[in-house]
């Protein structure tokens, strides 16, 4: 870029020779080389009219400026600034000054004085505002220079009296961003005007312009963010601003009040018009609640969101938010919720009340009715009924947060959450179901509530149903009728949407194990057993029957009396299900059938420590093998790999760890095999066989290292370096093999250089890790580096070969948590015998449903591959929206794959599988620097093809039977 710029400068100079003379004559240009500033100067001098000058400036702004020449450019700009009469050009110059001082690596302290000077004679308000903006940029670039900051703040204070709102806005912003935060600094500079920033900003809370008021509040918030403790005195001022005419002001004021309520929750404020006093946080809570019924929805959203994070509020205030006194013709009426509750309790205690009478009861005192509630009354009732769904979602979220911290509130808000299940907008429904799940530990559902919850099971949206299943997994039900109801509804759901099978079974599993005592009395009815008669044996393949059994078996696990109620076929079915659906059916201790359970159960019971120990022991054994002979090393590695693989199968918690190490050892084994001296010493004609083996090994090691790097979540930099090291070894091996097989030196040059470059980049990336790698391949290699660079390729190869052989085996430290990314395609099942028929040339959509576990950033990496019988492969990038995130570390991909092919004579199977795309440039090694997820996702998303270097299949392929028919004429 720099070269390009220079070129541009030269071009200018060659074009206009006269101008160059002019340049030389001006004293300003004492620059050693013709730089950007010179070109700009030329341009500006040429400009005859303000419009022209503006054009030049605009062009100039499009190109970046090198750091060295920034100061020069700034000087030139300033010079022109003073000469210029047109405000628009000055404005542009001012904005350019700001842009220039942002240049990375440029320290703007040298231009502070000039920038401040420009302010003095400026008349145009717009230019003033822009200049202040520039000062703000300069100030933020100089965080450790308090005196400059003080000066800037002082300047800003001076301009606070400007009549233009824009200027005042910028001044406040500047004060907010740069104002002194610590008291000490302020004291040193006591002589100056900027003594108490808070007071200065606070004075502008009453500015006549709403934009300035907003800016003042924002500046205050900015100060708070920068760590200044705001004074409590602001609170009353902020409260007044809540009644402002303008929504931005109100919205900012709500934030300010929230901040203050978090700072001084316990201080006492008086209630106006009475002698009482309440805690500040309660008062603030009441005020923010009041804003939930504000006229502007922006403010409402803001208020509703903030409510959720006010957790120090006293409980009676909290509970008021759900309270809305109903009346009808001046008589107190009970809410439907109260009625429902009473209805329920009447069933229990038979209070004699009639069911569902909503006749208004007692007369209310007209004086006692407070129509405009001063405090929190009914804030959530209003929020949840709001017109805009944004407000409703915010209210639900707030409810969730408050309920998580207060069980009694959770109990109370249940009714309202349940009501939200019937919202007209799906997102709101989904959100409220999730919320309910989050607080479900604190609550027990009443039967009538359960009824409403279950009614949503018939929703046609899959997300809603699945969220609801998740919810049912962790809810507490109080009665056996409740359980029965839930079961009946779930079965209904199953018949209506058979695809929900898995999710429903899982739901019933948890439901059963949570409520074993409630299930017990239901067992005879559920299994339709009869005390005297034998009932027909139900169909074992019926998903509904399986669902019932899942419920019962899970309940039986903690209820030993239950198996006594089972009939013979139930036991048989148990054995069958225990094998076929082992993740849903727990091991049971059944009378007289000990074999069934005892064989399997020991392996299930977690013996964490022994197996962990075993893992470490076997690894240690491997790492100490240096003194063994090669034969012994190979055998030991083979055994250990076998052991680890078996361990991974048995212990699901350790599977990731075991697989990871096994893969690593496998790589090492391959390397050792490939390097066996015996093979390398044979005569040239026999190279062929040895070459084949070595190059295959190199390739496999490469593939395995990519797997290790990208398929496991929780890999740390310590591991990454070792993986990369192994890859480097594999590449060295490849180089050696090619060197021995190819004739001529020419191609080798390129390869050697490339390899050396890689070594170099390895060194750069992992410089901090190098000390840990004593005696390793790379360590030795780096020692020899000067020699390598200068020597011929054949020598390089020889050196590499010896170093490879001599290098030690690196110890692979294990991270705390290591999980292997796995994917399981649920749909298509691959069992169907009916081919999917479609006309050739057209497309058919295939629904793909898969669960992904431990995949980081699935949106960027997971792809679907379709393999046609003719070997043609197709890679499909699912949309980011197709991924759901049901829980930590888990993802779900529900997408459609479009298939198309030319006509076939008969149906054939295609393979569908999931791939994990990776790109080592984007790998953990290079992007180790803290990068926000946002920017990462941004860069990964737009052209996904560019970022893919290779792919790793990580799911079992599923076969789909398809049949493209020839098109009919």
């Amino acid at each position: 870029m720099a070269a390009h710029l220079k070129k541009r400068v030269y071009e200018e100079f060659t074009k206009v020779v006269q101008q160059q003379h002019e340049d030389l004559s001006t004293k300003k240009l004492r620059l050693t080389k013709p730089s950007k500033s010179a070109a700009l100067h030329v341009d500006l001098c040429k400009a005859t009219s303000p419009a022209d000058a503006l054009q030049y400036l605009l062009q100039f702004a499009r190109k970046p400026v090198e750091v060295e020449s920034v100061e020069g450019v700034v000087r030139i700009l300033l010079e022109h600034y003073y000469k210029e009469n047109d405000a628009s050009v000055r404005l542009k110059i001012a904005s350019l000054l700001g842009l220039l001082s942002k240049t990375v690596g440029f320290s703007p302290d040298c231009i502070v004085d000039d920038a401040i000077n420009t302010l003095q004679n400026e008349k145009s308000h717009q230019v003033l505002a822009q200049l202040l903006d520039t000062l703000l940029v300069i100030g933020t670039k100089l965080p450790d220079n308090p005196s400059v900051r003080m000066r800037l703040v002082e300047v800003a204070c001076k301009h606070l009296t400007d009549s233009s709102h824009g200027v005042r806005n910028k001044c406040l912003q500047l004060i907010g961003c740069l104002g002194p935060v610590e008291k000490g600094v302020a004291k040193e500079a006591e002589s100056q005007a900027a003594k108490d920033v808070q007071k200065i900003i606070g004075d502008h809370f009453n500015d006549q312009d709403p934009r300035v008021r907003t800016a003042a509040i924002k500046a205050m918030l900015q100060l708070h963010e920068r760590g200044l403790k705001l004074q409590q005195a602001i609170y009353s001022q902020a409260c007044k601003l809540l009644a402002d005419d303008y929504e931005q002001v109100r919205s900012a004021a709500v934030q300010l009040i929230w901040v203050l309520s978090q700072l001084y929750p316990e201080s006492i404020v008086p209630i106006p018009s009475s002698n009482e006093e309440i805690r500040l946080v309660d008062d603030a809570f009441g005020k923010i609640c009041h804003m939930v019924s504000d006229g502007s929805w922006v403010v409402r959203v803001q208020a509703a969101k903030l409510l959720g994070s006010m957790q120090q509020v006293s409980s009676h205030f909290l509970e008021q938010t759900l309270d809305k006194k109903l009346m009808s013709d001046l008589r107190r009426k009970r809410t439907a919720h109260e009625r429902a509750k009473e209805l329920y309790s009447s069933g229990e205690f038979s209070s004699g009340r009639k069911w569902g009478d909503d006749a208004p009861k007692e007369e209310i005192d007209t004086g006692a009715v407070n129509l405009i509630e001063s405090g929190a009354c009914g804030a959530f009732v209003h929020g949840l009924e709001d017109e805009m769904y944004e407000v409703r979602i915010a209210a639900v979220e707030a409810l969730c947060m408050l309920a998580q911290s207060s069980p009694s509130f959770a109990e109370k808000c249940l009714d309202f959450l349940v009501d939200m299940f019937n919202d007209e907008i799906e997102e709101v429904r989904l959100q409220s179901i999730h919320t309910m799940r989050k607080i479900s530990n604190n609550i027990t559902l009443r039967e009538d509530q359960l009824d409403t919850v279950l009614a949503v099971l018939e929703d046609s949206s899959r997300d809603i149903r699945e969220a609801l299943h998740e919810l049912l997994c962790c809810t507490n039900v109080s009665t056996k009728e409740g359980i029965h109801l839930a079961l009946v509804e779930l079965l209904k759901n199953l018949t209506k949407y058979p695809t929900d099978r898995e999710s429903i079974w899982k739901c019933l599993k948890f439901l059963g194990s949570r409520h074993s005592t409630l299930v017990l009395p239901l067992v005879p009815e559920l299994l339709s057993t009869h005390p005297f008669f034998d009932t027909p044996e139900p169909d074992m393949d019926d998903p509904a029957y399986i669902a019932v059994l899942v419920l019962i078996f899970n309940a039986a696990k903690s209820c030993p009396t239950m198996p006594a109620l089972f009939s013979d076929h139930t036991f048989r079915h148990y054995a069958y299900l225990r094998d076929s659906l082992s993740h849903l059916v727990p091991p049971l201790r059944l009378p007289g059938r000990k074999l069934v359970s005892s064989a399997v159960s020991p392996s299930i019971t977690p013996h964490e420590d022994p197996s962990q120990q075993f893992l470490h022991q076997s690894l240690e054994r491997v790492y100490n093998f240096q003194h063994l002979d090669p034969r012994g090393i190979q055998e030991l590695l083979e055994f250990t790999i076998r052991d680890l693989q078996r361990l991974g199968e048995l212990q699901s918690e350790l599977a990731g760890m075991a697989d990871f190490t096994a893969t690593y050892l496998q790589c090492q084994l391959l390397l050792i095999k490939a390097l066996q001296e015996k093979l390398w010493n044979v005569a040239a004609p026999l190279y062929l066989k040895q070459n084949a083996l070595a190059s295959a090994a190199a390739k496999q090691i490469l593939a395995e290292t990519y797997k290790m790097e990208f398929m496991y979540s929780g890999v740390e930099s310590r591991q990454v370096v070792i993986i990369h090291h192994m890859r480097l070894q594999a590449k060295a091996l490849q180089l050696i093999v090619t060197a021995r097989t190819t004739r001529g030196v020419e191609p080798l040059f390129g390869m050697c250089e490339k390899f050396l470059q890689e070594v170099d980049s390895f060194q750069r990336c992992f410089i901090s890790e190098l000390p840990h790698m004593q005696g390793s391949f790379v360590d030795k290699l780096l020692d020899l580096m000067p020699r390598l660079v200068t020597s011929k390729p054949s020598e390089v190869v020889k050196i590499l070969q010896t170093t490879l052989r001599q290098s030690t085996f690196l110890h692979l430290p294990l991270p705390e948590q290591l999980h292997r990314a796995t994917a399981n395609i649920i749909e298509p099942t691959g069992e169907s015998d009916n081919p999917l028929r479609f006309t050739s040339g057209l497309v058919v959509a295939l629904d793909v449903d898969a669960t992904l576990e431990h995949v980081q950033d699935p949106q960027g990496t997971v792809k679907v591959q379709v393999l046609y019988p003719d070997g043609q492969a197709q890679l499909i990038h699912p949309k980011p929206a197709d991924f759901r995130n049901p829980g930590p570390g888990r993802h779900r991909l529900i997408t459609q794959v479009y298939l198309s092919h030319t006509a076939w004579t008969e149906p054939c199977q295609i393979e569908v599988r999931l791939l994990l795309a990776y790109n080592s440039n984007r790998s953990k090694a290079s992007s180790r620097a803290p990068k926000s997820t946002w920017s990462e996702s941004l860069e990964a998303l737009p052209p996904p093809e560019n970022g893919i270097e290779g792919t790793i299949p990580f799911s079992k392929p599923v076969k789909v039977y398809i049949m493209p028919k020839p098109a009919r004429r």
Binding site: S293, G295, K325
Partner: protein, 591 residues
Amino acid sequence: GAGQDVGRSCILVSIAGKNVMLDCGMHMGYNDDRRFPDFSYITQNGRLTDFLDCVIISHFHLDHCGALPYFSEMVGYDGPIYMTHPTKAICPILLEDYRKITVDKKGETNFFTSQMIKDCMKKVVAVHLHQTVQVDEELEIKAYYAGHVLGAAMFQIKVGCESVVYTGDYNMTPDRHLGAAWLDKCRPDLLITESTYATTIRDSKRCRERDFLKKVHETVERGGKVLIPVFALGRAQELCILLETFWERMNLKAPIYFSTGLTEKANHYYKLFITWTNQKIRKTFVQRNMFEFKHIKAFDRAFADNPGPMVVFATPGMLHAGQSLQIFRKWAGNEKNMVIMPGYCVQGTVGHKILSGQRKLEMEGRQILEVKMQVEYMSFSAHADAKGIMQLIRQAEPRNVLLVHGEAKKMEFLKQKIEQEFHVSCFMPANGETTTILTNPCIPVDISLGLLKRETAIGAAPDAKRPRLMHGTLLMKDNSFRLVSPEQALKELGLAEHQLRFTCRVHIQDPRKEHETVLRVYNHLKGVLKDYSVQHLPDGSITVESILIQATAHSEDQGTKVLLVSWTYQDEELGSYLTSLLKKGLPQSTP
């Protein structure tokens, strides 16, 4: 109309010399002359057009627009009539329907004709939401969204700086197809609000909706038929949307029917005026217009005998005649069926009877109809409740409130509440009663730029929030007010300037010589009045700005000096301050 009463809304507002009529409704309860407002009240002789500047119709319900053709065509009014676009579209359909029932069914004569409705609609000017319409040079009106029914609006009427807001009927809680009413902080002098539910605070609508859906769903699952008697517009659409979305969500298959006729035409307009509906419908209409019902089909009489479950919306809403009654008679005998009354029923109708629990009904021809079907009542009202009304008042911050469209007893309660909470006066006039409200009209005055600049230059920085004292001359000329500098006023009026001077004598006990006294006074004043130019003139007098102070010895008592203080009218403030200062005497310590 509508004073302490529900029905035939018709309010006359005189504001700053302009007369505006708000709504022109009929009364459901009467069939004689009382059904229309008494227009002779407006003016005894002379044409209405001369007296009224404009007529505003808030929405298309007959109790707000039913008398319009009568008023404009039979009584005679040719001025502009303002209403929103949906109201203009749907209003004639309802009027025509109303005419048909009155003339064709009841055989009344002397009623307006179809042609009259058409002619009347020609006088209508349609307005958009938040559009400011200039009726004439001074009168302007502006419509705000009101919820309630499609196209319902609240109107702000403004003349000069006096303004009135008329709410019509409105709803503060959004429902399935309409949003909530909204007003900005317009601070009108008077807010005229409806108060149908002045004493009610309603429960969350979600419970009602849920109950409704659950009942319908259960009945349909049992294989029963559900009859929902509705009036053609308003709530009917709400319930349709509710059921339609529910059917969609739950994948239900049972058919829903809607009785044809009037409704179909109206639904057409609902489809057109999507912008007047709520957020959800507005957002989704690109994919599918919510009023293009997928599950709801037109009803045919023969369908009533079809087996299997179904849901039927039928008119009219009180089961007193027509299709809904026919269907009711067919289905009443089966306990699996259900009838849901979604609104209020007038006494004497079948609807009222079954709601009050009567199970045996006597039909015409002495037949006894036994009602075995379930009877449910669900209130879906689209009026603001007491809280809603208060909320609107809070939003608008009016200086006065006037309650209409409600019962006197209930208004009383609300009135008391409003006065207590907002400290604004509240009125509730009866029909025919006139309420006069005093306003503080502000009178704009032109100020000459020179004077403004001169005055702002004096004193502290400008602060527009605070009133400021300015000196100038108010010139009332040619029906306009101007504030000009005195010099200019003199010039314009051709008057000579008179100078007004005040003089005052102050006695001071001072035995010294005159010029010494003067010197002392001079030093004293110089010390006190630091900001003013205090000069000691050679002729022995002192000037403070334009104030002249001279000292002479008292003719009788030499020890007493007389200070003569003289100032012009312009320096009155300083002059009086000086005299009071001098009256206190000179400080003793000065030598």
